[in-house]
Every structure is written in C-alpha cells, then in structure tokens.
C-alpha cells in the first residue's frame, strides 16, 4: 500500500499506525505485543487535558520562512503565536539566519459564523495576510469549529490561489479528529508534500535532509566531520529549501514520531532514501547513524575514521562522568519516540533507566523497513520494567513516580517538569531536540545532570511546600482500581 496518497488528508495515526494512548507493563512485552498489533490498552473514562493536532501542525507551518498562516478558527486556537515567534527569533540567531517573524492571522470565527458559514471571513483573512506579509505561500489551518461546520477549504484555497498566483495550502489538523496530537505533524507534512515539494532538478550528493523541531544548530558541525551539508527541515526552512529537498542524498530525522511519514513518502515518491537506523542519541546509535549516512553518501571509510577519533576524544571526560553518575536511577517521560533517544543516552552515562513513559505509542511505522527505536532501545539497554504509554495524565504518572522514586526525571514536553519538581525529584528538561545528538551530546547530557543534582536543595524545598490537587482516595488507592469503580455510584 502506498504511503503517500494524493488526497486532501492523510489518515489519522490511530488508524494508520495503530497508535495507542495507554499501556502499562514492561518494554519487551510492549514491543512484542506491538509487533502482533495486540497491545492491552486499559481505557479510562476520566482524562486530564491532552494536546491537539492543530498545535503540532503549528510547529511546522508557523516556522516556514516565506510563508504565512491563516488559522481558520476561533481566537483561542491561535494564541500560541507569541512563544513560537520568540522561538523563531532564537533559532534564527543560533543558525545565523535572517530573523524569521511568525506571520499568522486568525479568521476569528464567531458564533454567527458557525451558523451561516465563515468562508467570507476566511477569504478576507487570506487576502489580508497577503497584503500584510507578502508571503509566497499561505497555509490554511483548520480547527474543530471549521471542521464541524463543514467549511470547504479545498475550494476556498483553489479560488484564492487563482487570485494570488502562489500556493494556498489547506492543513487538515482539526483537533477532534485524532486524540494523538502528533497527527498534526502528519497533517502539516502531507500539505507540504502535496503542494510544496518538487521533483529534483539535480542531485546534491553531499546534502542530508534533517527533519527536526526548530532546534539548535548541532547537525551542521557534526556532519561537517564527514564533509556533508545539512538541510534542516521543515521548521526554519525556506520554501526553496522545501521545494528542492528531493535533491538530497538521504533523509534523516531526530524522532520517528515527527518524521517517519514524510521520510517514507519522500523515499516512495522521489527516491530519496531514508536513514533506517535510530537517530544519533547515545554512542552506539550515533555510530550506526553515521555509518548509515556514510552509506548513502559514499564515505564509509571516512565514517570509520571519524567514529574512532570521536570515541577517543570523548573517552576521558566520559569516564569521569560515568564514575560521577554511576548507579543513579532515571525515569524518562517524553513523547514517543524521543523518550527512547533520551533513554539511550542515559545508559552511556552509567545511569539506570528504571522507568519510561511515552505520550503515545505507534505500534508500527509507515513501512516494515523503518526503524523501531523501542526495539533498538531494548537491544542496547536491556528490558525496562516500568513502561507506560500515557498522554500526560499526571494523576497516573505522579503515582508511578511516587512508587518508583527515581534519582532524576528527564522530560521533554511542555508542562511535564512540574511532575518531578513537586515530588522533589531533580528534573531535567530537554527542551531543544537537537541539543543532545552525537558524541558531544552524551557529554553535555552528563554535565547537565551533575549540575542538576547539585541543586537538590531547590527540589527538596519545592516538594516540602507543594500541594497536589488529588483526593485522599487517590492517595490511598491504586489507579488500577480507579477504572473498575467507574460504573458504580452516580
């Protein structure tokens, strides 16, 4: 079956990848059950707030240089524009790019629009975005409201395009359609593939596509060691970079959840090979990743040289860090599959991974050849006893953390750090997804952990005074019992 289908929308993750939102058990069982597509997922009729696909689509579309975004939504859907703008400024500076300003206009759907339709307003917003920003592409982001009232964004986009003479690209990221927020990445990439990517004019044999989250510039110096150039995608890329990404020698990414859809589609549609080993987090994965990149760029000998040199270079400090951190226990709480990356670094630093929670889990990816980082993590780290799949849900995770009591909590995602902080667990936030790649990434990770552990007084102080909003029943009972009590009572 084709990965990419020429239709307005890509299928949601629940149906395409059998993505799940709950699991509790060990890593090996999850891996085996995933392969059989039979994972036991206890459902719950009580939930705490998740996130939506629209937010994930923003992480791509807001940061395309030269494009504007029209959010066809009530104003509440697009209030995250300011921090994204700040991120753009920071990353522009870090990567030496001209300052990127996020260019977003909301159609500000109101009650009347939900009754009589909002297409007039959408046209007005599109033309106003054109006037204000003079973009070369406009993304139209759908919302729950525009989706339910049945706005015909396809025909609106076509009509606007006829007038503007540049792509007007709908992104179908309605929040209600999927409870897996990463579906928003797929929705944005599908729009990019459908309208913005062009066949290669000429091949660039030393160019590597890196799909990432508007992270810092760590890949350019790293791949420079192999004499390769980096095409950072899609956030903070220009429309020209996106159009010509088919010219690259291969495609790699920092996280399967982010980019396996777009990477598989590029291989299928344009013959750009995808790197099919885990991303370069931790020493063994970095070795394997460099070799794989070298394979597609014809520099295997050089890769072996670099790997040997790098191992030797980091060895003295790595040994020191391993001694200092020996035996410390860590719990990793992060998106699937980035959590696997972080856990794979931990083992290099002599840390013991005693718990792992991912915010969802895809039972498989687009093609059987694509990498399975859970599998790879079990191979390099051994089984992990406490593995949870859970879309945040502090009422569950806090219980686990209280029971498991790790020395350190490592998180990557907004609003997760307080889970550890309030329990007095030193908590390391991995904000920048590119920061910890490669050999230096392992060292930097270790240094940050040592700094973190030195601040123990702060975490103790927070735990001493923080109150959790949970009932006596919650404190005294296992959460497993909670689901069973749902049918009685009221």
């Amino acid at each position: 079956m084709a990965v990419y289908k020429d239709m307005p929308e890509v299928e949601i993750r629940e149906r395409r990848l059998n993505a799940i939102l709950s699991y509790q058990g060990d890593a090996e069982t999850l891996n085996i059950q995933s392969k059989k597509r039979k994972v036991k997922c206890p459902g719950s009729s009580y939930n705490q707030c998740s996130q939506c696909a629209e937010g994930c689509a923003e992480t791509i579309t807001y940061h395309v240089i030269g494009a504007a975004v029209v959010s066809h939504a009530p104003i509440g859907c697009s209030i995250g524009v300011s921090p994204r703008h700040i991120l753009s400024r920071a990353v522009s500076k870090n990567r030496g790019l001209p300052e990127h300003k996020v260019q977003m206009i909301s159609s500000n759907i109101n009650e009347e629009d939900t009754v009589y339709g909002a297409s007039k307003k959408l046209f007005a917003a599109i033309y106003e975005a054109d006037r204000r920003f003079k973009p070369k592409t406009i993304f139209l982001q759908a919302s729950c409201a525009s989706g339910i009232i049945g706005e015909d964004m396809e025909s609106i986009a076509r009509q606007a395009e006829e007038k503007l003479h540049y792509p007007v690209v709908p992104v179908y990221c309605e929040g209600f359609k999927s409870n897996i927020w990463s579906t928003g990445f797929d929705a944005a990439f599908h729009a990019v593939l459908r309208r913005l990517v062009k066949p290669a004019q000429k091949k660039q044999h030393d160019l590597v596509n890196i799909f990432n989250f508007a992270g810092s510039d760590t890949f350019i110096p790293f791949l420079h060691k192999l004499g390769l150039r980096v095409n950072y995608l899609v956030p903070m890329a220009t429309l020209e970079q996106i159009a010509s990404l088919t010219e690259a020698a291969c495609t790699a990414h920092i996280c399967e959840t982010l980019a396996t859809y777009v990477a598989a589609a590029l291989e299928e549609q344009y013959g750009v090979p995808e790197v099919k080993v885990p991303p370069p987090f931790g020493i063994n994965w970095t070795d394997g990743w460099l070799r794989e990149i070298a394979k597609y760029t014809d520099r295997l000998d050089l890769a072996e040289q670099v790997i040997a040199q790098e191992h030797e270079r980091i060895q003295p400090e790595l040994e020191k860090l391993r001694t200092q951190l020996a035996g410390k226990t860590v719990y990793v709480l992060s998106g699937d599959a980035f959590a696997h990356n972080l856990a794979n670094i931990a083992k290099d630093l002599n840390l013991k991974v005693i718990g792992l929670s991912t915010l969802h889990h895809d039972l498989h990816f687009e093609t059987p050849q694509q990498v399975n980082t859970l599998d790879a993590l079990i191979k390099s780290n051994g089984n992990i006893k406490n593995v949870t799949v859970c879309n945040k849900q502090p009422y569950r995770i806090l219980k686990l953390l209280q029971d498991i009591k790790p020395d350190v909590l490592i998180v990557r995602h907004p609003n997760l750090a307080p889970f550890g902080m309030k329990l007095g667990i030193p908590t390391l936030s991995e904000g920048d997804g590119n920061y910890s790649i490669g050999y230096d990434g392992v060292l930097k990770f270790g240094r940050r952990l040592i700094e973190l552990l030195a601040a123990k007084n702060l975490f103790n102080n927070i735990a001493l005074h923080a109150k959790l909003p949970y009932s006596k029943w919650w404190q005294q009972n296992s959460i497993v019992n909670f689901n069973n009590t749902q049918d009685g009572g009221l």
Partner: protein, 449 residues
C-alpha cells in the same frame, strides 16, 4: 476593532478556566477538544510571566478531550463520566464545567449535566464557554455569573456592614493580577473595610464566595468587564455597587479612589485620611528619592508613551504616567472588545483626568494593526516608551524605543507578586519605566538620546 486578528492579546471564552483556577481550591472540568485546556493554559498562565500550574492547573486540568465519537454521537455521557472521575480523584471545593467549540456546536447540554451532579449535592457548576462565543473577558463574566446563579444561588442576604466584594482585573488575562489584587485588598483594608477579594492568595476561597450576598456593597474597578456581574448581584441580592472605572495607580488616583469608596461605604473619614496620609508619605519619600536620577538622566528618559493593554488596565496606567510623571500620551490602545457604552465610560473617566488621554485613545484588538500604527506614528521613537506585551518589546527593539511590560502575552519575563496598582503599583511602575533606559544600551548621566 477588527474581525480578523494578528498577534492575539486575549484567549477565547474557554480561557476562563483560569478564572476558576484563580479561586483557591476551585477546579475546572473542560468539556472540549484535546488541545483547548492546554492552549489556554499556555497562553494565560505560562505566557503571563510563567505563573505555573499552581494547585490544579496545567496538565492537571480535567478534560474530556472530545474526539470524533463525541462529535458524531454527542458528548454528554463522556462529560458525566469525566465529572464523576474528577469528583473522586481530585480534591477541590468547587468544580466548574467549561464547554468548548466541539460540544457547543454539536449541542451537548453541558449545563444540564452539571446540574444533575449539583442536584445530588456536589459542588458542580456548568458553563458554556465555546471559543466562538466570545473572548476570555466574556468567559470570565460567564464563569462568575454561573457560580453566583448555580452555586451561591437564591439566598436571603444577611448584610454585614463594612464587607465589600471586589470585582476588578481579570485573573491571568491581567498578568499582574496576583499583586494587583493583594494591593487592592491591602488599601481597602487600610481604610477599614473587610474585603472579599475572591481570587488569589488573599482570598479564603469558597467560603468567601458563599459570603458574597452578605456584602454591604460591591466594588467594580473596571469600565467594562464586570458590569453585568455587579448588576446581577444588585438584582439578585439587592446589593448596591460602586463602579470606579479607572484602575487606581500611584498616590493621587489611589487616594481619590479610597476617598470615593470611603464616602460610598459611609466609613470614618478620619481613619481614611489617616491611612491616606501614611501611604502618601511613604509613596512620595520614594518618589522624591528617584528625582535625583530623573534630573541627571533626563536626556535618556522617555518623554512620551504608548500603552497597549485592556480597558481595565491601560487607562489607569496611562493616567498615572500623564498626571504624576508628566509624560505625553502618543496612543493608548485598548485591546479587549468594547461595547459602545463601555467606550463611553472610558472616555468620560479619562477626560475628567486629562483631555490628552482621550485624544490618544484607540480601540483595537488586532495586534498587527497596532504594530503598523506605532511604526507609522513613531517620529521620535528614541524618546518613547512602549508599555505592552512581548510583541511590543520586539517592536520597541526594532524602532529604538524603550519598553516595559504591561499586558499579555508576556513570554520573556517572570512575574511573581509584582503590581502596577495602588501606591505600591505606582512605585513599581516608576522603577520599570526608569530602569527601561538601561535595557536599551549603556546609559549614563552624560548620554543624550
């Protein structure tokens, strides 16, 4: 005012989950799509100077995370299960259901579901706060009115002389709400009132809310949002209200405010004047102490200003800058959606202070237009200070103006108990205005801008 919006300054009605969270031990239950609560929180709490999840905000917020099945088959069953779960798992004194776009378009009767729980004695209130229905200001009023109607209900007031309910800034939508409400409570207590401040640290929580009908009067410090609340209370409990439309900032306005309140409440003028005298002495000691700096750094200081904020906040700030600091108003942008009668109240209150303030008034909710307007009117930008959000900071850096933080979104500063209200707020505002000259580049007493 604009139909479409660039650089939004407020959230949607569902952002009123933050109004619920501002009440000690009250917890929201959101009946909406999976991203609504998180987005509202990210904007109004994280983006308000990193105010944090507090007791039960952030990821702790209960949410049905409505999906396709609720859109197709209706979401009332999911909501009922969610409320039941919240009552068992969470430790709160009041639970407020807030519905979002999905549930309101498909026609869930969220209020009826909440009422079923309330009828069984659970402290549950239902509200409809779909994002398309209005802004966070609208949602704030809806939440408060619903708590009054459904939770406090029709009770016989036992009027307590000297007790006042205060309705002022919108929590979180005013990033300085915590400090502002503390200061308002402090000065009102100073003249002899007992204060139901209702939100934040100074509030006793639900017991205070239950006591609302017994107040001698309601005090509304706003020209706009909140009028419907005090009118409802007048109708329901026969409680009179005093509307003071301008946020009192600095000594002159705060003293005037206290005198007006004192007269309305029938308090002892002697005690009021004694308090005012003590406060003014302290205020002007600080004021005079900074006048050396003002004199020596005059050539670096701003001579005019722009304010970008809501109608509850920006007029009071602007009046202080004109009246006590002698600055000239270039433009005062009011970013909330204002009914014509509210605009009238604002215009009247400002013209009573200084006509220049009225001339500078602009009603605009589209941040993109505000930016374009400032760029176009900034002739001597170096001598201007722009008070606003993170957006205005970037604009100020770009055109060489000074800046200070006033309104959402504020993603690059940490706000704790800072306030711009009252005597303490005036002092804080002065320190922000004058410290701003050092944020641009090295300023010395010899440099001339």
């Amino acid at each position: 005012m604009s139909d479409i919006i660039e650089q939004p300054r407020y959230g949607c009605a569902l952002s009123a989950q933050q109004t619920v969270l501002a009440i000690p031990r009250a917890l929201p239950i959101v009946h909406a799509g999976p991203g609504c609560a998180s987005k509202s929180f990210a904007f109004a709490a994280t983006g308000a100077g990193f105010q944090g999840e507090g007791y039960g905000g952030g990821s702790h917020i209960s949410s049905t995370n409505t999906g396709e099945s609720e859109v197709i088959f209706g979401g009332e069953t999911s909501l009922a299960k969610e409320i039941k779960g919240a009552l068992q798992i969470l430790d709160g004194d009041l639970f407020v259901v807030l519905s979002g776009c999905t549930s309101d378009i498909v026609g869930d009767d969220s209020i009826a579901v909440a009422e079923r729980f309330a009828a069984q004695g659970y402290p549950v209130v239902g509200t409809e706060t779909a994002g398309f229905k209005g802004s966070s200001y609208y949602g704030h009023e809806i939440v408060i009115k619903s708590i009054i109607e459904q939770f406090i209900g029709s009770v016989e007031p036992k009027v307590q002389r000297g007790l006042v309910n205060v309705f002022a800034v919108v929590p979180f939508q005013d990033p300085f709400w915590r400090g502002d409400l503390e200061e308002i409570k402090r000065v009102l207590t100073g003249i002899g009132l007992e204060v139901n401040i209702l939100f934040g640290n100074g509030s006793a929580g639900i017991s205070e809310w239950a006591n609302i009908p017994n107040a001698q009067f309601n005090l509304l410090i706003s020209p706009s949002t909140g009028i419907d609340i005090v009118k409802l209370l007048q109708e329901k409990y026969d409680t009179p209200y005093l509307q003071y439309p301008l946020l009192p900032v600095g000594a002159k306005e705060t003293s005037q405010f206290l005198r007006d309140v004192s007269v309305f409440a029938g308090l002892s003028p002697i005690r009021t004047e004694r308090f005012i005298k003590e406060e003014e002495k302290r205020f002007y000691d600080y004021f005079i102490s900074v006048s050396d700096f003002i004199g020596e750094y005059w050539n670096n200081l701003p001579v005019d200003f722009y304010t970008v904020g809501d109608s509850i906040y920006a007029p009071g700030i602007s009046a202080f800058l004109v009246d006590e600091l002698g600055l000239t108003p270039k433009k005062i942008y009011l970013t909330d959606e204002l009914k014509p009668e509210w605009q009238q109240i604002i215009t009247e209150s400002l013209s009573a202070r200084d006509r220049k303030l009225v001339t500078a008034l602009t009603f605009e909710n589209d941040g993109g237009r505000i930016e374009a307007d400032i760029r176009q009117s900034a002739d001597k930008a170096k001598r201007s200070i722009i008070l606003g959000s993170s957006w205005e900071k970037f604009l100020a850096l770009d055109i060489g103006s000074l800046y200070a933080y006033l309104s959402l979104p504020l993603d690059e500063t940490v706000i704790l108990n800072d306030t711009y209200t009252g005597y303490n707020g005036g002092l804080h505002l002065m320190s922000e205005i004058y410290s701003a000259v050092f944020k641009r580049k090295t300023a010395t007493s010899r440099s001339i801008f």
